[in-house]
Subunit: 217 residues, 2 copies
DNA sequence: GTAAAATGTTAGAATAGACTAACAAAATTT
DNA sequence: AAATTTTGTTAGTCTATTCTAACATTTTAC
């Protein structure tokens, strides 16, 4: 009923809506690495399927049905990532690409079994929430590290980028979810932060890195 | 380089070659549930990719490259089935359909990890050999139960049909791989067999069932 | 508040994979 | 050996997904 291609569009729409509020065709096509007219005509198709509300020159919106469909794909994606890390021994930097494919497998049983074997996890290995069986997910209001101040002590709760390069960067510094971070200094010129955690002292993180780290107080 | 669709064609060619010797377009199209002209034009495409030898009105043949490619997909399929049964707790009747999809996942790491976690298995849950990393598989010369005689005592080594219906039929009779079967009688009229195994006595199996059971002496 | 830039849309074409209808060759029956 | 059936091929069409080129609208800049 919904093709693999369409599933990827829906997922993109949901995540762009989450990070930017409004979604336009330019963002969508950039996100998916396709040209604008391609995205445009797919939006019309998804509108016919009642998954998207499309009006010329207006921002794109998912319908409730579209949100649910997208949420269920993200559920499959994140359950897969969790399974790959917890049950198969992959590193958190290895799983996104594989999950990107496995999320399109058609088999209720397969994902229900994963869920069960994992003990019904609520978060994936990158700290993102796993949507429930209705495709609904609760976004906990984390802060980016960028918004913290000198002296703050916070815990690393999630990362907003699952690329292998970024996660290998964190691996190299033994920076893991749950780590207790203390902010020692913030360079006012470039907003880079000096922090300590675990045994580590005086790690300097650029603002580009800090804005990808979500923390709780 | 090879699409999901093409992968399924290659697999079909390999398994038809194994079971029938020569493969023609009619068999191939029936096996895949497509029309003859569709199969025909795909054969020309695969011939251009040097995966198939195509000559008008001649039987279809896989090239060495084609055999290897097909073997590697079957490797992924069977490793998956083994993983689903041994590591995830699925029944042998549930795994074929899921594996039919997962065999197309592009990730060396994923299947290598499965292989490692499984301890480098040589056979899948249905008793079929798992091809090696070069796509080569050794076919052990099993016999179908049909070819056995009254008084023979044999072990169930493999089944040649992985459909859920057939495997549920075997489940209902607690007939598993490895079972030691003794042939009590063969009905000459319809070739149905009366056998005993485990605690079971006097199970009658039709010839249709017997020919799908591969045994060792 | 016009001009320029950015964004969005339409039209037309390409490729992959499937189909039907019509024709051709090979195999099988009489 | 001719007729019939089966099998295989060609030609043309369709849908899904992508593209480029051209045009339209909206937003931003001056
Ligand atoms: Mn991911
Ligand atoms: Mn995907
Ligand atoms: Mn199988
Ligand atoms: Mn398949």
């Amino acid at each position: 009923m919904v093709s693999l291609t369409e599933e990827n569009y829906l997922k993109a729409l949901l995540s762009l809506a989450k990070e930017k509020g409004e979604v336009n065709v330019t963002d969508l096509s950039k996100h998916l690495g396709i040209k604008m007219p391609t995205a445009n005509s797919m939006m019309k198709k998804l509108a016919e399927k009642k998954l998207v509300v499309y009006e010329s020159y207006k921002p794109l919106r998912l319908t409730e049905k579209g949100k649910k469909t997208a949420g269920l794909i993200i559920r499959k994606h994140r359950l897969t990532e969790m399974f790959l890390v917890d049950k198969m021994g992959f590193g958190w930097e290895q799983v996104h690409e594989i999950a990107e494919q496995i999320e399109h497998i058609h088999s209720q049983d397969f994902f229900e079994k994963m869920d069960e074997l994992l003990g019904y996890p609520k978060f994936d290995p990158h700290g993102s929430p796993i949507p429930d069986k209705n495709g609904k997910m609760e976004w906990i209001s984390y802060q980016t590290l960028t918004h913290c101040n000198v002296g703050d002590v916070v815990h690393l709760a999630a990362v907003t980028n699952s690329s292998a390069e970024f996660l290998k960067f964190l691996n190299a510094r033994e920076l893991k979810l749950g780590a207790r971070l203390r902010i020692l200094a913030i360079e006012s010129f470039d907003k880079s932060m000096t922090i300590t955690y675990d045994g580590r002292s005086d790690e300097v993180l650029s603002a580009l890195v800090c804005e990808k780290l979500l923390v709780t107080l």
